[in-house]
Assembly symmetry: C2
Homo-oligomer: 425 residues x 2
């Protein structure tokens, strides 16, 4: 089908780099671009990852151009001899590369030094290509239009790629839409396994709204994708399906929108002005780092104490050494004492505490790897819960941090529903 007949351009991504192919680096650029496009109703249909090989890159570009209206290539625009996207793109288009004098000037201004032979490679471009300016690094991007097809090439360094994509590429691709009759919305849930979320929603009458789920660290996000004659109608249908789903999922709904648990918690805390403190052991700063990932959190986050040693639990959080000796650092009692100590010492409205065995060492029969205690403390009292997570060290820590954020969200809502007088000073 020709691009002109479709309401939306089809997009493929070709991500290049031996570091991606060999798994040394995770390809976050493709997810970033795909997510930005999807928010505008344009879907990436395929991502192809190939190494730093001129022939492999050229081959992948040729194949992608045969299927898609737009091909986005990332990586391989740096100065080294392993950066071969310029030449590969020229091969795929059947043209030569040439040096662009104006680009040489730009590169020299960025590097603030005379250009070496390698530096000058960044000014190469396939004949007929436009250069895309780079305000975040030395390597310019490339854009080639041939017929109804467009190829963009951007550097692989994530912040350069992101800046250039948002500034120079995203808007152009979205402007190729011939209709905006698509809408997505999301519902974030926690506490039910994915299969039970799906089962609960299986009786939902959503008409032509497509449902998709994804699971991460115990949080299940449901996506509602609607197509209709107009954008407004599509949005109405997607929203309406999400509303019905939210009723079926009840207390397990964490929030609306394609947002992670930290964003949902931060929104709740910020909108209600609830000051928060965090006490972490096995998660080692992950809960705090997730919260600090949200801009503006400084208005409510007082502090986080990563009390990794028993002495720190005692000195910083006031957990009695006797309690630790009696119950063990990984216990509901110590989690409660950590949360209470964190709240009082920070003068916070709410505190959350995590202690557990992340493994791979340190597990016993009574306290196996994956055993995690979570506690929240507020003027409403202190609550603790025991969890047993499966998986490896990183998975257990990530899962525990997610659960801590979910506890915090529920406590913030519970707290917020009480009269203001119950808040601490």
């Amino acid at each position: 089908m020709d691009g002109a007949e479709r309401p939306f351009p089809t997009v493929e991504i070709v991500a290049t780099g031996d570091e991606l192919r060999l798994g040394e680096v995770v390809d976050t650029n493709s997810a970033f671009a795909a997510r930005s496009l999807a928010a505008g109703g344009v879907e990436v249909s395929r991502v192809t990852v190939v190494g730093d090989s001129r022939s492999e890159i050229a081959c992948a570009i040729r194949e992608a151009r045969a299927r898609a209206d737009v091909v986005l290539v990332t990586g391989g625009l740096g100065p080294t001899l392993g950066d071969l996207t310029r030449e590969a793109l020229a091969d795929a288009l059947g043209v030569e590369v040439e040096t662009r004098p104006e680009a040489l000037g730009e590169i020299e201004r960025w590097l603030r030094r005379p250009l070496s032979e390698l530096d000058r490679r960044q000014a190469l471009a396939p004949r007929g290509a436009e250069m895309i300016p780079n305000r975040w690094g030395s390597a310019p991007g490339l854009k080639v239009r041939a017929g109804a097809r467009t190829v963009y090439a951007l550097p692989g360094v994530p912040h350069e790629m992101r800046g250039m994509f948002e500034t120079s590429v995203l808007g152009e691709i979205l402007s190729m839409r011939r209709s905006s009759s698509i809408a997505t919305c999301h519902l974030v849930t926690h506490g039910l396994p994915e299969s039970q979320v799906v089962a609960r929603l299986s009786h939902l009458r959503t008409g032509d709204v497509a449902l998709g789920t994804r699971a991460r660290a115990g949080t299940i996000t449901v996506r509602f994708l609607a197509r209709a004659a107009t954008r407004e109608e599509a949005e109405r249908r997607a929203d309406s399906a999400a509303d019905s789903a939210a009723k079926l999922l009840g207390e397990f709904v964490a929030g609306r929108g394609d947002r992670d648990m930290a964003e949902l918690v931060a929104e709740e805390l910020l909108s209600r002005g609830l000051r928060v403190a965090v006490a972490e052991s096995c998660t080692g700063g992950l809960v705090a780092a997730r919260l600090v990932g949200v801009s503006g959190i400084s208005r409510v986050l007082v502090e986080a104490i990563v009390a990794y040693s028993n002495e720190s639990k005692t000195n910083r959080l006031g957990v009695s050494a006797g309690l630790i000796a009696e119950k063990g650092a990984v216990s509901a009692e110590v989690a409660r004492a950590m949360a209470e100590g964190a709240r009082v010492r920070a003068g916070a409205d709410i505190a959350v505490a995590v202690t557990g065995v992340a493994g791979p060492q340190g597990g016993t029969e009574a306290k196996p790897v994956g055993l995690v205690y979570l506690a929240t403390a507020s003027a409403l009292g202190t609550e603790a819960a025991e969890h047993r997570f499966r998986g490896e060290r990183d998975a257990i820590r990530e899962r525990a941090a997610e659960e801590a954020l979910w506890s915090l969200l529920r406590e913030a809502r519970r707290f917020a529903s009480r009269p203001a007088g119950t808040r601490s000073a």
Copy 2:
């Protein structure tokens, strides 16, 4: 070329899932598999990401099988109607799917409940396929051999995929090697931009050792890949090239091996028994979380204080309120006071502190977004440094955390080279 003639099997990955294609989830599974294989000298040549479409998955499997000896498919083995890898694999092989009674029993044992119609989908397999047991979840994997080609399919949930890959797939693929005449080694550097690392190494005579670099958060990792008649000879060549490179890079070498900065720091601290404390502001727990990512760190990490508010800097780290008022929370003086306070209060040998403006709000002309102060404190004294990082909030925080770990590594080495008497109690 036929698989039997090559010394190493060629491997391609087909990663499936709308959540990957739409960028809602980053494909970490492929990187994990590729990295595990590369450690055994087997390289992944291409990764293809497609959505939850039976025809797209079947097409990607067919294409990959035409090029590679081994195809690893991930995702699409769950219970929902969007999980279509079983059917797509059957399509690609030209066979039917059938229900495996023995798998039904396994699934029921895992779920501990009577199976629903959807649950039973997980016992489907293409005719001729073997089932791969899953000790981490309900969905079994699949393995199909046809001629010299093998296709493996594993669930997309990361910890299930990883467990099954390591237990049932990796060893089989590595056993297909007909030679082990490949070796890689890595050198981790920090403090020089990638182009300068490359320039310094451009005069290195490495013979047939291939060099590759990758950059992340200011750390440049150089990979040396050698091929030779024997594994030992390949290892000798790669090591020798890395030795020569290390001499050329001098003080900028952080360590050997494909390890991240946190692992290198942890090794240094653990091997010397240096107790460490962390004080963070803008990084918000990232430095601690990186360290806690290393198993065994509890022997040396006392605590981390995420002093996100000024009151926390004062109460927890003893930074005088007057100093904060005079110099600002983001200043070399406050960074020094944070490091000193963290060290003394934790009774640690070394402390590192970070304070900065991560943005996007909060920047001023005098203290713009990206301005970060780092300090280390030990019995050797306190040192502070100013950095100006470019990029967005996440990039600045990640960059600052990396730099803090690098400071800690250098301080640990400097400290360790002094007589033991200078250590604190």
